[in-house]
């Protein structure tokens, strides 16, 4: 119960802080180098710095994630390993850090311009992933749904 509360509070904070559309924040040179020291490149670029995952999965999140997936993602991403416009979602949570996934969803333009892994995908798919106006809270729901899709309980 305590754990659940912590997750909910954290999610609430994340969601509350999240702007509708992620902004590109400019950083000064000095700040940038300071950030680089502590930034883990496998987490991608964006506002999502740390995501704590819990098991069992949050069923409500999974359902919300599925609804958003069907509305905003399913046109290009299938749930198996088949690439249509973008890569299939199967095993994505095993290949990528949760932070990378959420940053890719919420900060896609910066990711495609600056993140090496995202750029590799662009070369593969030749289609810039569109900004689907997904909030950080919604991206966290999608992540939960992806974990379920990858067999987590």
């Amino acid at each position: 119960m305590k754990k659940l509360m912590t997750v909910l509070v954290a999610a609430a904070i994340l969601a509350a802080c999240a702007p509708d559309k992620p902004q590109v924040s400019e950083t000064t040179g000095a700040m940038k180098s300071a950030v680089e020291e502590v930034t883990d490149p496998t987490k991608g670029i964006g506002q999502v710095k740390n995501v704590t995952l819990h098991n069992p999965l949050d069923a409500e999140r999974v359902q919300r994630g599925l609804d958003i997936y069907e509305m905003k993602c399913s046109a290009c991403h299938k749930l198996d390993d088949q690439r249509v416009v973008g890569p299939g979602f199967q095993d994505i949570t095993k290949r990528r850090k949760p932070e990378w996934i959420m940053n890719m969803i919420t900060n896609v333009d910066v990711m495609l311009d600056e993140d090496e892994e995202a750029q590799k995908l662009l070369e593969l798919c030749l289609m810039r992933m569109p900004n689907q106006n997904v909030s950080i809270g919604d991206a966290r729901d999608i992540l939960e749904f992806m974990r379920q899709n990858d067999g987590e309980k």
Binding site: K72, A75, C76, V85, M127, P130
Partner: protein, 656 residues
């Protein structure tokens, strides 16, 4: 012999040079050296002002940037727009409904930007349909026509739309007087007896902008031309220019130009409200359309309304007063202080400026020179602040700056004249190329003009641009009014015939601009909010295709089972949620247009296939590197055939 021939040639040449130098030249010849830098907006930079310019007989409203004169948008208002599908898509057709049925065209003359406390508030833009009387409201967050209301009992909606200080009302005065009431089938020659004027007061909901005709004033039978609301001390009053007080009904050019003076009609609308509150208004049976576009359902609805409340001013003589004004007044403009009213007699040698304070004193003292149809006519001298002497020929319209100056357009002498409102002294004049009609100072009709420029909207273009056959571009000219002297900076072409225009600082609206429609909020009954909802359903002869569009495929993109004689509705939902990613949809043989669908929106194109075959459809708006792949096929079978209804995307199972 030779020498004299050379002398002759030289003299002819020099004569030509002299003659040439008298002729007004293009901008290069008449602007000074720094004009270019004053209108140059570097690539990627923004203009300082939005300029909303009426399109006249194209029924549209064009949006320009100032000072560059660059065209951004042409908003369909009372016209169809095959480019966007406005008037062609099932969702937008109701916007052009009237009591006469569907009308795809009109003549839009006057924009009016909403105000609060007499100042631009950047919320809405109103416009008039001159021919089949209507008033439209454009939402300045979407730059789309959000509402259109038809005006009953009106014979041409020219004196419209003009708004009160806090946008309480939009007024719509009739240009033509016509027979009103129950018996309208009367001889034209019974004008004096049977023809009446009508002024509609459209109330505007302060939260939503929604319009309703609160009441109409029945007024004496002549022509109503233009109008302005009072503001500040004159808030609560409206002023209308009236011509044809001769009550001519034929050859008005001559017969309506006989009287030395026509009228400015002063209306005390607060007084009219009092009478209405006392239940003095009479309900009349009429029929008019009220059309509203809903951004959630992405659809318009059209409703017929059958009643209007009328106050006959002949029965309530303290609502209305006439002020004599020389020779067929056109413009009737109120200065930023609200104290001075400028009447511009098209055929007059002087321009009278009336004083609101003096008008009030004259009313108190019953200082009248007579009456017209029982309505008091205030003594001219008693209402007059003064006359601008020898201002120019053919004064039309006046706008104001924040420094106490007025700028009046003169059609016949083709110039803008700057004069001081208090002293009535003429300060400067500049030629326009050619024959100016309306003019615009940003914020010019408000209590707080933004100033900086005056823009001339000309009636004749002639030799100003490269020729394009008999039909030439229309044109506007931008002048700086920052110094003592006006300075021509720029010519720019306009779309349609520009009549009135308004301008406001871009900062008032640019950050409120809608970028996408959130797909979560899409309440269109045929929306497919995700590919999972994409499908095809048959209901009798109607086939509904719930289609989605995202870079770069349409779902479904293979459809079979459509039959000749079907009505096929393509309800296309754009699943994109990023700014500036519209998709388009067109199908071969569609007799209407394409549709352009903004991110998160649903729009519907009706297609009636006439012959069996496989018919291509595709996205018309270049959307991505694979835009040319964004296409599909619809199979049409003969009427009555049994081809099963099938739809798919990405299914290659049947490929042999």
């Amino acid at each position: 012999m030779k020498i004299s021939r050379i002398i002759l040639l030289v003299s002819i040449a020099s004569l030509l040079i002299v003659l040439n130098s008298c002729k007004p030249k293009g901008p290069v010849g008449v602007t000074t050296g720094d004009a270019a830098s004053k209108v140059y907006v570097a690539p990627g930079q923004y203009d300082e002002f939005y300029n909303f310019v009426s399109g006249g007989f194209n029924g549209q409203m064009a949006v320009y940037g100032l000072p560059s004169g660059r065209l951004f948008r042409n908003i369909p208002v009372f016209s169809e727009d095959p480019m966007s599908g406005w008037g062609y898509s099932e969702e937008t057709k109701p916007m052009l409904m009237t009591s006469h049925g569907y009308i795809p065209w009109d003549d839009l003359h006057h924009p009016a930007l909403s105000t609060t406390k007499g100042e631009h508030d950047g919320r809405w833009l109103f416009g008039n349909a001159n021919n089949t009387p209507r008033v439209a409201r454009i939402d300045l967050t979407t730059f789309r026509t959000a509402e259109i209301i038809e005006i009953p009992n009106s014979g041409g909606n020219h004196s419209s739309p003009f708004i009160t200080e806090n946008t309480e009302y939009v007024v719509a005065g009739t240009r033509f007087s016509i027979p009103l009431g129950d018996n309208r089938d009367v001889p034209i020659s019974s004008y004096k007896e049977n023809f009446k004027g009508s002024i509609s007061f459209i109330k505007v909901n302060p939260e939503t902008g929604r319009m309703n005709i609160e009441f109409q004033l029945r007024t004496p039978g002549f022509n109503y031309d233009l109008s302005r609301a009072g503001k500040g001390p004159s808030h609560g009053w409206f002023f209308f220019s009236c011509y044809n007080t001769e009550q001519a009904y034929t050859l008005l050019e001559v017969n309506a130009s006989r009287n030395d003076k026509d009228f400015i009609m002063a209306v005390n609308w607060k007084k009219a409200e009092e009478y209405l509150a006392q239940g003095k208004g009479k309900k009349e049976k009429v029929k008019y359309a009220h059309n509203v576009y809903d951004e959630r359902t992405h659809s318009a609805t059209s409703k017929m309304i059958e009643e209007v409340t009328v106050l006959d001013v002949m029965e309530f003589p303290d609502i209305v007063y006439f002020i004599p004004c020389p020779k067929s007044p056109h413009g009737c403009d109120v200065d930023p202080s609200g104290e001075f009213i400028v009447g511009s007699g098209k055929l007059a040698a002087v321009m009278p400026v009336f004083s609101f304070g003096k008008i009030q004193t004259a009313i108190t003292n019953k200082d009248y020179e007579g009456d017209f149809d029982g309505i008091p006519v205030i003594r001219y001298e008693s209402a007059l602040h003064g006359e601008v002497k020898k201002p120019g020929l053919g004064p039309l319209h006046t706008e104001f700056d924040a420094k106490g100056n007025a700028y009046t357009s003169f059609f016949v002498s083709s110039e803008i004249v700057k004069w001081n409102v208090k002293t009535l002294e003429i300060l400067d004049r500049v030629p326009t190329y050619y024959s100016i009609g309306h003019l615009c100072v940003p914020g010019g009709p408000t209590a707080k003009p933004h100033g900086k420029y005056v823009i001339a909207y000309n009636k004749i273009t002639k030799d100003r641009y490269l020729p394009t056959g008999p039909e030439l571009t229309q044109s506007a000219q931008l002048y700086s009014i920052e110094g003592d002297k006006m300075q021509l900076l720029l010519d720019f072409p306009t779309i349609g015939e520009p009549h009135y225009a308004e301008a406001l600082p871009a900062s008032l609206i640019k950050d409120k601009s809608v970028k996408i429609y959130p797909i979560e909020h899409n309440e269109h009954p045929y929306a497919a909010k995700g590919e999972k909802m994409a499908r095809v359903e048959r209901k009798g002869n109607d086939v509904h295709v719930y289609m989605t569009a995202i870079r770069s495929h349409l779902t479904p993109d293979n459809i079979e089972g459509i039959r000749v004689g079907d009505n096929v509705y393509f309800h296309v939902t754009n699943l994109e949620q990023d700014w500036d990613v519209p998709h388009g949809f067109a199908i071969k043989g569609a007799t209407n247009a394409e549709i352009l669908i903004m991110p998160g929106e649903t729009q519907t194109l009706l297609w009636k296939p006439l012959t069996p075959g496989v018919v291509p459809f595709y996205c018309t708006d270049f959307c991505s590197a694979l835009h040319q792949e964004m296409q599909g096929y619809a199979r049409v079978s003969p009427a009555g055939s049994n081809t099963p209804l099938k739809f798919s995307t990405g299914d290659t199972g049947g490929q042999k």
